[in-house]
C-alpha cells in the first residue's frame, strides 16, 4: 500500500517509515506539519494516511481536525489516527464524520508484529478500527444500572469486538463461530441495550461506543 505519514516528531516519523516499509508497504511522503497535509494527499494520492493525533500548535487533538478536513475533501480516504494514550472521547469524535475507513489506534499497538498491516487492510476494505484498549476501558467500568450485566459473556465479547470496529465476518473469525450466530448475538445485544439497530458495521461502531461512554 502507498502510505503518507504525518507526524511532527522526527523520531516517530522515521521509525514509522522503517516499520511500514519493513511490513512491505511504500511510504510516498512524510509530512511534519498539518498545513502541508492536504497538498501532499492531493499530489500523492495515497491509499492510506497515517497521522499522529498530537500536532502543533496545542499538541492535543489537532490530528482529529486534520482527519476531518481530509475526509471533507476525499470522503473515501483511509485514515489511521495514532495516539499515545487511550481516550474514548477522541475515538467517538473521529468517527462522527463517518466511520468507514477510519481507525484509531494506540501507538504501541502497532509495535506488535503485523498489527499495522492488519489495521490498514481492514481500513482499506472499508472497515473501522478502534484500539482494543480504548474499548476495554469502556467495557470494564462498572456502573449502577449496568445494562451490560444483562448480556451473556459471549454477547459481551461480541459487543467488544463490534466496538473495535470488526465486521460480522471479522467477529465470526475471531470467535470461531458462524456468521448466523454472530447476527443473532448482535440482534440480542441491540435489543437488550435498547440501541437503534443498524446492520452497517461502521455506523454501529459509533452507536456502541457512544453507548459505552455514556453509561
Amino acid at each position: 500500500m502507498r502510505v503518507i505519514i504525518v507526524d511532527d516528531s522526527i523520531i516517530a516519523r522515521e521509525g514509522l517509515r522503517r516499520l511500514i516499509e519493513a511490513e512491505g508497504h511504500q511510504v510516498i511522503e512524510v509530512v511534519g506539519r498539518p498545513e502541508h497535509v492536504q497538498r501532499a494527499v492531493a499530489t500523492g494520492r495515497p491509499d492510506a494516511v497515517i497521522l499522529d493525533i498530537r500536532m502543533p500548535p496545542t499538541y492535543t487533538d489537532e490530528g482529529i481536525q486534520v482527519a476531518v478536513d481530509l475526509r471533507a475533501v476525499s470522503p473515501d480516504l483511509t485514515i489511521l489516527v495514532l495516539s499515545q494514550y487511550a481516550t474514548p472521547e477522541y475515538a467517538t469524535r473521529l468517527l462522527e464524520s463517518g466511520a468507514a475507513g477510519l481507525g484509531y489506534l494506540l501507538k504501541d499497538r502497532i509495535l506488535e508484529p503485523l498489527q499495522l498491516s492488519e489495521a490498514l487492510r481492514r481500513l482499506v476494505d472499508g472497515g473501522t478500527v478502534v484500539d482494543p484498549d480504548v474499548v476495554g476501558e469502556l467495557i470494564l467500568s462498572r456502573h449502577g444500572h449496568d445494562s451490560l450485566g444483562e448480556l451473556s459473556p459471549r454477547e459481551r465479547e461480541v459487543l467488544r469486538l463490534m466496538a473495535e470496529g470488526l465486521s460480522d465476518r471479522g467477529i465470526a473469525d475471531a470467535m470461531f463461530i458462524s456468521l448466523n450466530t454472530v447476527g443473532t448475538h448482535i440482534q440480542h445485544i441491540f435489543r437488550k441495550l435498547g440501541l437503534p439497530g443498524s446492520a452497517d458495521s461502521n455506523r454501529r461502531v459509533l452507536a456502541v461506543l457512544a453507548f459505552l461512554q455514556q453509561r
Binding site: 516499509e21 519493513a22 492535543t60 481516550t87
Partner: protein, 596 residues
C-alpha cells in the same frame, strides 16, 4: 502628606495653599474687656443721642442700635473664640461702623459744631458699612480672600468706591453745594454703581454655593442665602430710592426695606456664626459618644464609628505596612486615590495610621483631631488586627503560588516524558519491528520479538508513571474527560455526574481531579464493595466536588486515609473540605474550590 488646609472662599481648589502663615492668638482678657467696655459705651452714647435728636419712630432707633450691637457682640465673641479667622474683626468693625453711622440719620440743629463733624464723617461711614458688609459676606467663614479671586477684586472695588464717593462728594458739595444738580447726579451715579456691585456679589455668592461640595453646602446654605437676600434687599432699597424719591432716601418703603436688609444681614453672619458654634458643640458631644461606642465594639467597627461621628460616609482608615504600602482594616492592599475627592490625614509621626476623608472635613480640624484622639486605642487595635490579616492573606497567597508552581512543574514533567522518553521508546520500537522483518533466522526474530515485548512493557510503565504525575487527559481535554477516564479505571462502581464541559483554571482542575482520585482510592481500599457517586458542579464562582459512598464509614483525617493531605491541597488553593463519615453510615467528602 500634609493635612489639607481649610478651604478659603473665592477659591475652588486650595490643595496647594498652606494654612495662613500668621496664626493669630486669642486676644488677652485686658483687650477683650477694653473693647467690650468701649462697645457698650458707644451703644449707650448713640442711644442717648438718638433719644435726644432722632425724629424717626423709636422702634427704628432701637432696631438700628440693636443691629449694631449684634455685630459688635458677635464680633467680640468671634474674635475670642475663633482667633484664626478674621470674621471677628470684620464683624466688630462693621458693628462699630454701624453705630457710628446711625447718628447720620438724626435731625440735628443746624449749625451746632458737632453737626459738621457728623455730616463730614457720616457719609463715608455710611457707605463704608456696605463695603464692610460685602467684605464680610463674601469672605465668610474665614474672613480672608485670595488676592486674585473675583471676590477680593469686588471688595477692593467697593472700598475704592467708598473712597471716591467721599472725595468726589466733598468736592461737589464744597464747590457747587449740597442740593445742587451735580450733587444729585453724583448720588445717582454712586447708587447705580453700588447696585451693580451688589448684583455681582449675588452672582459670586451663587457661584460659591454651586461649587461647594455637598458637605459644605449644608453648613453654608444659611449664611449664603441670608447674605444673598440681604444684598438683594440692598439693591431693592437703592432701586426704590432712585426711582421714587429721586435720591433723597426718606421714602417709607425704602426705610422698611432698609431695616429688613439690615436684619437679614444679621442673620447672614452673626446668627449663622453662632449657629455654627452650636453645631460644633454638638459635634464635639458626638465625640464623647464615640468613646463610649468604641469601648463596646470590635476593631472592625472603628472605621464606621468614626465615619458616623464625623458625618463622613466616605471615611476610610488605612495602615502603613513595613513594605511601604497601605492596607485597610481587612488587611487588603489599599490604594489611596490621588484626586481632590479625598484628603489624607496621617496620624502620628511616623504615621501609624492614615485617615482618608472628605476634603470638606478639613474645615473641622479640631473635631477631626478630637475624634481621632478619642479613637486612638481602638485605632491601634485595628492596626494590629489589619496587619495580622494582611500577613495571613500573604501567607495564603504564597501557599497558592506554591501550589500553582508545583502543578505547572508537573505538567511540564508529564509533557517532557510524553514528548521525550516515550517518543524515543516508540521510535526504538518501530525500528525493532523493522529490524525483525529483516532478520532471517527465526531465533534472531524471536529475540527481537522478546525485546519488543519488553519495550512495550517499559512504554506501558512509563505511561502509567506519567499519568500518575499528571494525566495527559486532564491537561489536554479537561476535568470531565479526565474524571470519566478515572472513574472507568477504578475498581469500584462509580456514578459520575458532571456538567461542566468547559475548561477551568489548571490548578483548579488538577485539585478537583486529585480530590476525586484520593477519595476513590479510599473507597477502593476501605470499602471495596461499596458504590460511589461523584458529583461536580460549578455555581457562583465555586466548584463543588462531592464523593460519596455507601461503605462502612469511619474515615477521619488521620487514620491513614490521606484525607489530611487532601485537605491541605484544597486549602492551598483557597478551598474548603468537609468530611462526614459516621461509622456504619458511609462516607461523604465535599470539597469547595474558588473558581471564576
Amino acid at each position: 502628606m500634609i493635612p489639607k488646609p481649610i478651604c478659603c472662599p473665592g477659591e475652588r481648589r486650595c490643595d496647594d495653599e498652606p494654612m495662613p502663615a500668621r496664626r493669630r492668638s486669642a486676644p488677652g482678657a485686658h483687650r477683650l474687656v477694653l473693647v467690650t467696655v468701649l462697645g457698650c459705651g458707644l451703644v449707650i452714647f448713640v442711644v442717648w443721642l438718638g433719644l435726644a435728636y432722632d425724629r424717626r419712630p423709636r422702634p427704628l432707633l432701637a432696631s438700628d442700635v440693636a443691629i449694631g450691637a449684634c455685630f459688635v457682640g458677635a464680633g467680640i465673641a468671634a474674635w475670642r473664640l475663633r482667633p484664626r479667622s478674621r470674621i471677628g474683626v470684620l464683624m466688630l468693625a462693621l458693628g462699630i461702623d454701624m453705630l457710628l453711622a446711625t447718628p447720620y440719620g438724626f435731625s440735628f440743629r443746624a449749625g451746632a459744631p458737632a453737626v459738621t463733624v457728623i455730616d463730614v464723617l457720616g457719609e463715608p461711614l455710611y457707605w463704608l458699612q456696605f463695603a464692610l458688609a460685602g467684605h464680610l459676606f463674601l469672605s465668610y467663614p474665614t474672613g480672608s480672600l485670595r488676592w486674585t479671586s473675583p471676590e477680593a477684586r469686588l471688595v477692593a472695588a467697593c472700598y475704592a468706591l467708598v473712597g471716591v464717593t467721599t472725595v468726589a462728594g466733598a468736592a461737589v458739595r464744597g464747590f457747587r453745594g449740597a442740593a445742587s444738580r451735580p450733587a444729585e447726579q453724583l448720588n445717582i451715579l454712586v447708587m447705580s454703581a453700588w447696585i451693580g456691585f451688589a448684583l455681582m456679589a449675588v452672582l459670586l455668592l451663587a457661584r460659591r454655593f454651586h461649587r461647594s461640595p455637598a458637605r459644605r453646602r449644608r453648613q453654608e446654605i444659611l449664611p449664603l442665602a441670608a447674605a444673598g437676600s440681604a444684598v438683594l434687599l440692598f439693591v431693592a432699597v437703592f432701586v426704590t430710592t432712585l426711582a421714587i424719591a429721586g435720591g433723597s432716601g426718606d421714602h417709607s418703603t425704602a426705610v422698611v426695606l432698609h431695616t429688613w436688609m439690615a436684619w437679614t444681614g444679621v442673620i447672614a453672619v452673626p446668627v449663622a456664626f453662632l449657629l455654627g458654634l452650636l453645631r460644633e458643640r454638638l459635634a464635639f458631644a458626638a465625640v464623647g459618644d464615640l468613646v463610649r461606642r468604641l469601648e463596646s465594639v470590635g476593631p472592625d467597627a472603628v472605621e464606621s464609628a468614626l465615619a458616623q461621628t464625623l458625618d463622613d460616609p466616605s471615611l476610610r482608615v488605612a495602615f502603613p505596612t513595613d513594605e511601604g504600602g497601605l492596607v485597610d482594616l481587612a488587611g487588603q492592599p489599599f490604594e489611596p486615590s490621588e484626586d481632590a475627592r479625598s484628603a489624607h490625614l496621617p496620624l502620628g509621626d511616623p504615621p501609624h495610621a492614615v485617615l482618608i476623608h472628605d476634603p470638606a472635613l478639613s474645615h473641622d480640624l479640631e473635631l477631626l483631631r478630637a475624634a481621632v484622639a478619642a479613637a486612638a486605642l481602638a485605632l491601634d487595635n485595628a492596626r494590629l488586627y489589619a496587619l495580622v490579616r494582611a500577613q495571613l492573606a500573604e501567607a495564603m497567597a504564597s501557599r497558592q503560588r506554591i501550589a500553582r508552581t508545583a502543578d505547572a512543574e508537573r505538567q511540564r514533567l508529564e509533557r517532557d516524558l510524553h514528548d521525550g522518553a516515550q517518543q524515543r521508546l516508540l521510535g526504538i520500537g518501530f525500528m525493532l519491528g523493522a529490524l525483525r522483518t529483516r532478520l532471517q533466522a527465526s531465533a534472531d526474530q524471536e529475540m527481537v520479538a522478546d525485546l519488543e515485548a519488553e519495550l512495550r512493557a517499559a512504554i506501558g510503565e512509563l505511561r502509567a508513571f506519567a499519568q500518575g504525575i499528571r494525566p495527559a487527559v486532564l491537561t489536554d481535554q479537561g476535568l470531565a474527560p479526565a474524571l470519566a477516564s478515572l472513574t472507568r479505571q477504578t475498581g469500584v462502581g462509580v456514578d459520575l455526574h458532571i456538567s461542566t464541559r468547559y475548561r477551568l483554571d489548571p490548578i483548579v482542575e488538577a485539585t478537583a481531579y486529585y480530590v476525586v482520585r484520593e477519595a476513590l482510592q479510599n473507597v477502593e481500599r476501605h470499602a471495596h464493595d461499596a458504590r460511589a457517586t461523584v458529583s461536580v458542579s460549578h455555581r457562583r464562582g465555586r466548584l463543588t466536588i462531592e464523593v460519596a459512598d455507601d461503605g462502612p464509614g469511619g474515615a477521619t483525617m488521620d487514620n491513614g486515609t490521606g484525607l489530611r493531605s487532601l485537605a491541605d491541597r484544597v486549602g492551598a488553593v483557597g478551598g474548603q473540605v468537609q468530611i462526614a463519615s459516621p461509622v456504619g453510615g458511609g462516607t461523604r467528602v465535599v470539597a469547595e474550590l474558588p473558581c471564576t
